[in-house]
């Protein structure tokens, strides 16, 4: 027999300005199942689920929760009342508040901390999601923040849990534990369901009962998980002819890294027991010692908030070190993770953005004509797709923006390059291009220090791996299991 549907979205259309985000999408989540919603960045997965949670209003289509049609205007409070809970990719927690205040948020009347504390403990005992109700969210590690989001949903009696890329911020063991917990959640409650938004084929196949695949706002495949293979899912996600990249990237991280056979390469960056404090004077990196040699990529593997942010900036000369000795060249190129905020002036032309590099060290008249020529040459050389050097940075796609930022960073052949989450938010093809650019930089003799929150990306690119846990650095072998454990502080 066909199990009843916990969540059903039919004929959903959504347009954002000129962009067609969703076109006639249908999603049927059976009760008692884990449903993977698979697709590339920008395929419309998050938008679809934000519609199911009432955060975004669909232009057309219906949303049924546990058999009841939710009439517009459908708001998050109605979704919560109907039994939907959503764990957002960028958590929706108030970091200045405590765990129990966050969990109580959205109710009415008097707020009694003792009642909420008891509730948090009860949920903890029942589900194993243990939290300190008095802890301030800003002081929690990322995995605990995610637990807090889930407990918040459970506290409101969520029967349908939607999780947006939940494993992206977790170390492998934590991700395993979460996925196992989700299986238990539906196994124990046959009327409940889980929707897992992901772009990882591996997670979808391993965890889900059913899979729905979105590509460019359309549903391109849907069915029971065991009817799919990695190959067929990759075909569906990417469309014909794009598969090789994806499978290569995700399923078999390229093992082409240099080994120690690369001879005669000197240390470019040497850190000797350095301590780094963040701007609020909190000690974030403790006694880190490591080297980065010319012509190698050193990858940093760490769970969000382990001190990598400060470590990278200290090496780049943007944060001063509190203790220890750091020897690094002064002209290190740095590519920050938030390219819109920290790397580009979106409403300035590419030429002007190029001129920003080293702007603080130059004086006198701007040689705009020379700069424009240089920018144009750079666009050609690094295959950045832009109409010309005068267009605003905003008009470029994310992948081309990142390629431009990398091209600018590498323009005058710096001795070292530091990159932070270089492919965040990019699609497969752009990711592959950025990876190629990083390997080219390495092969040209540049010392590269890389951090990515995606462990597979670190393993695919790095010649050597540094695991960072709670501010302490260890060099570890390039083995997924070993690195994963080291990220969590287990030896």
């Amino acid at each position: 027999m066909t199990a009843s549907l916990a969540l059903s979205l039919r004929g959903i259309h959504k347009q954002f300005g000129a962009v067609r985000a969703l076109h006639d999408v249908t999603l049927a989540v059976r009760a008692g199942t884990v449903h993977a919603l698979l697709g590339e960045n920008g395929a419309g997965k998050s938008t679809l689920m934000r519609i199911a949670f009432g955060l975004v209003r669909a232009d057309r289509g219906t949303v049924d929760v546990l058999g009841t049609t939710c009439a517009p205007p459908f708001t998050p409070s109605m979704a919560i009342a109907a039994g939907v809970g959503m764990v957002h990719q960028h958590f929706s927690l108030v970091s200045a508040m405590t765990v129990s205040e966050n969990i109580a948020l959205g109710s009415q009347g008097r707020y009694d901390p003792a009642t909420v504390h008891a509730q948090v403990r009860r949920i903890g005992e029942r589900t194993g999601l243990v939290l300190d109700p008095n802890a301030r969210v800003s002081e929690l590690p990322v995995s605990a923040q995610q637990r807090c989001e889930i407990v918040k949903a459970l506290a409101r009696d969520a029967r349908i849990l939607i999780l947006d890329e939940p494993t992206a911020v977790l170390a492998p063991d934590e991700a395993q534990a979460l996925l196992a917990w989700l299986r238990t959640f539906v196994a124990e409650h046959p009327s409940h369901a889980v929707v897992l938004i992901t772009h990882k084929l591996r997670d979808a196949l391993a965890m889900a009962d059913d899979i729905t695949v979105l590509r460019r706002g359309e549903r391109v495949a849907a069915g029971v998980a065991h009817t799919f293979t990695e190959a067929s899912l990759a075909d569906a996600m990417l469309g014909p002819g794009e598969r090789t990249h994806a499978v290569q990237q995700e399923v078999m991280p390229r093992v082409d890294a240099h080994t120690d056979s690369v001879g005669a390469h000197h240390n470019v960056i040497t850190a000797d027991a350095i301590d780094v404090r963040d701007p609020r004077n909190v000690l974030r990196v403790r006694g880190a010692s490591f080297t980065v040699r010319a012509g190698e990529i050193v990858g940093v593997a760490a769970v969000e908030g382990s001190g990598q942010h400060e470590l990278l900036r200290a090496v780049a000369g943007m944060l001063s070190i509190a203790n220890g000795r750091l020897s690094a060249p002064s002209d290190i190129a740095f590519v920050p993770e938030d390219r819109h905020r920290d790397a580009l002036l979106l409403d300035a032309s590419l030429t002007e953005n190029l001129a920003l590099r080293d702007a603080g060290t130059r004086s006198g008249r701007m040689e705009w004509r020379t700069l424009a020529t240089r920018t144009a040459a750079l666009l050609t050389k690094r295959d950045v797709r832009a109409r010309d050097a005068q267009v605003n940075a905003r008009t470029l796609s994310g992948g081309n923006q990142q390629k431009f930022i990398l091209a600018r960073a590498l323009d005058d052949a710096p001795p070292a390059l530091i990159v932070e989450n270089p492919t965040r938010g990019l699609d497969f093809r752009a990711t592959a291009d950025v990876h190629d650019a990083l390997r080219d930089a390495r092969d040209a003799g540049i010392a590269v220090l890389l951090y990515s929150s995606d462990l597979d990306e670190v393993l695919a690119l790095a010649d050597r791996v540094l695991a960072l846990h709670n501010g302490v650095v260890h060099e570890v072998p390039r083995d997924r299991a070993i690195v994963g454990r080291a990220m969590l502080g287990a030896a």
Binding site: S77, I80, A96, L105, G106
Partner: protein
């Protein structure tokens, strides 16, 4: 026997009362993520409305009518501010400045229209001091704290109530969540716009009452521009008070004390020090407080943000 120090402390509390009222209102508004620079405008409108209402009604009822009209005027003025900032998401600083300038001009115009250019013959009922038997006889603080108008006593209840309300009601949590992270508030089923609009209007009501206090409990008359920067001082008080009601009350007392210092020094016979210096003291204090960059760290994270939510 009444000493100069008794006089000073009483004057400090008296001067602090309207400041505390306006600052508590602004504290509510800012906790919701909106900074209302138009506070000054709400105060002056409250003052004029209180003058007209109290003068028209007259008698003992006139005082009540005055405070009510003051609160209403504050709400009406901030309704305009809420419309532009909360719903149309205009820049809060610019809108607030415009509201203040508009209000100062508008009240002058209405005042001249109603009372003529001379402004004489203003006789409006005022609220008298109500000494509390026993308590007002306490040494040092007795007269300062317990021989004041009823509106000051109201603060003794409002301040602890607000402190409790911020942390122990779901509405208080919703307000703080909206000021810290409107996205998180929305995801928790809260309507951030509604919360912000209500927070702004509540702040307007408080500011209007503060304006009414200036007229009904202090000067007994309306003077053009009589708010004299008190709205801006109240904003500084919120910063100094670290966005908590108890802190705000304490900071208001400090500013009240700075304003009252002139009386103390005059009665001590220090006449060679120009009194203008003491008049300037609260404003100098405002500058110093606002310049303390570290105070920003306690501010609601989404304060004055134009884009409310990402979605």
């Amino acid at each position: 026997m009444i000493t100069p120090v008794d006089d000073f402390l009483a004057a400090a509390v008296r001067t602090a009362t309207p400041l505390a009222l306006a600052a508590l209102g602004e504290c509510i508004t800012e906790r919701g993520g909106v900074i209302n620079i138009g506070l000054e405008g709400a105060i002056i409108c409250g003052a004029l409305a209180a003058t007209i209402a109290a003068g028209t009604v007259g008698g003992p009822l006139g005082v009540t009518a005055g405070f009510t009209a003051g609160a209403l005027a504050g709400v009406v003025v901030t309704l305009l501010f809420a419309l532009f900032t909360v719903y149309l998401r205009a820049d809060q600083i610019i809108t607030g400045t415009a509201i203040t300038l508009l209000s100062l001009g508008f009240t002058g115009l209405v005042y001249k229209t109603v009372y003529g250019t001379t402004g004489v013959g203003l006789t409006i009922p005022t609220i008298g001091d109500v000494p509390i038997p026993g308590l007002s006889q306490l040494p040092l603080v007795g007269r300062a704290l317990f021989a004041q108008p009823v509106i000051t006593y109201a603060l003794y209840a409002i301040v602890p109530f607000l402190a409790w309300w911020f942390v122990r009601t779901h509405a208080g949590l919703a307000l703080r969540a909206t000021g810290e992270s409107p996205d998180a508030a929305l995801a928790a089923g809260i309507q951030p716009r509604t919360v912000q609009a209500l927070a702004v209007l509540a702040g307007g009501a408080f500011a209007g009452v503060a304006g009414a206090t200036l007229v009904l409990a202090q000067s007994g008359t309306f003077v053009e521009g009589m708010s004299a920067g008190k709205g801006f001082i109240a904003i500084a008080i919120v910063v100094l008070g670290r966005w908590t009601p108890l802190g705000v009350a304490g900071a208001a007392l400090l500013f009240g004390g700075a304003s009252a210092l002139q009386y103390l020094f005059q009665s001590l016979g220090w006449r060679e020090v120009p009194y203008q210096l003491f008049l300037a003291l609260p404003y100098v204090l405002t500058l110093l407080v606002l310049a303390r960059a570290s105070a920003r760290s306690q501010a609601p994270a989404a304060l004055a943000r134009r884009q409310l939510t990402v979605g």
